[in-house]
Symmetry: C2
Subunit: 204 residues, 2 copies
Amino acid sequence: MVVNIRSSNQTRERIHDAGLALFNERGYTGTTVRELADAVDLTPGAIYNHYPSKESLLFAIIDRVHDEADTILSETLRGVGNDPVAQLEALACAFTAFHIARPRETRVANRDYIYLPSGERDSVVRRRRRVRALFAEVLRDGERRGHFSFGDLGSEDAVQAASMAILNMVVLVAEWFDPAGPRSADDTSALHGRLALRIARGGR
Amino acid sequence: MVVNIRSSNQTRERIHDAGLALFNERGYTGTTVRELADAVDLTPGAIYNHYPSKESLLFAIIDRVHDEADTILSETLRGVGNDPVAQLEALACAFTAFHIARPRETRVANRDYIYLPSGERDSVVRRRRRVRALFAEVLRDGERRGHFSFGDLGSEDAVQAASMAILNMVVLVAEWFDPAGPRSADDTSALHGRLALRIARGGR
DNA sequence: GCCGAGTATGAACGACCGTTCACGCAGAAG
DNA sequence: CTTCTGCGTGAACGGTCGTTCATACTCGGC
């Protein structure tokens, strides 16, 4: 048989999940391999049958949620027309729903990616930049076509600031959203879609 | 002489600064007392003449920047009338300027406060909540007086989401703002003031 | 029934962790 | 001049870190 990198995926997946939970609440550097092993009822050494290092587990977690984010964004974009207003609202709504559904994954990805070795960290940084560029592009497109306006803001190229405002609103929703609160995840996602339009002054 | 908790403040301050720089770029748990000692040309043991523990240094750093934030906010509020529109614009502008001026302090405070012992962490959480409440209160006040409107957003109590959108825009400005970029800190702060008004639909 | 591959154990590795402590030294106070 | 106090050193503390390894068990394929 060829070199088998993958292990019996069941255990590998349990380690992935436990790592996610622990990294989320203690941080990557604040989590030990022994805690991780305890969480999956294994010995520290056994972890290394499934991941070559603690860092590689962090990367697996972060890389996967970036894959999912990319999928969500491109599918959302594919499902809506080429009207920038509809695009922005749909993107902000869908991405908010995504962050509400995956609070631990996105928190670890956004907070602990700095602990990745430089090659993998660079790859993550590139992926993050691509998301920023996507939102900025929709805003710029909408401005060019007269649906959004930033001229009254008294600053040239306000698109960057506006797209970061939208993105930060979306990406940090899980820090305050309460699943037991009065507003549902769907409501909040839709609300963020509207707020994104306010920011771009594209409202109805 | 009475019990002297404070040490010769010069060295204490150098440790504070070095801790700030290191915690910022490596994270609290990713920073060693030995690295800290090296950065201030001291022996690890000497650190303990100035701070009783590594945790206490973290708390000193975080507590100070919270003090400064509170000062900025209350002075800003004192310097402007009681018009909610002016209040919101001034708060968003001043707080953005603050976060641009203190990127390391605010990043450490927002990212690493989770490593504080529970008593001190709770105190930090309370202070953060008070800032959130301040913005929410301005928005609610403005809505009551007809300057802001959230009724068209299709969600009851959109104030919370809107104030978090404003706060997250402001608090994370340092993650993308480039001091060497085309837009100055003052411009960006003013821009955030306007964007806050867009979010609250309080345009002029 | 044997074999080899996959997975686990438990002990151990050297390194490094936050913190302590006995001690030395400089300089202000008496 | 002596004493005391504040601040530093350097060595050491016990503990924990991420990782490795010899060994053993289990189980499907021959």
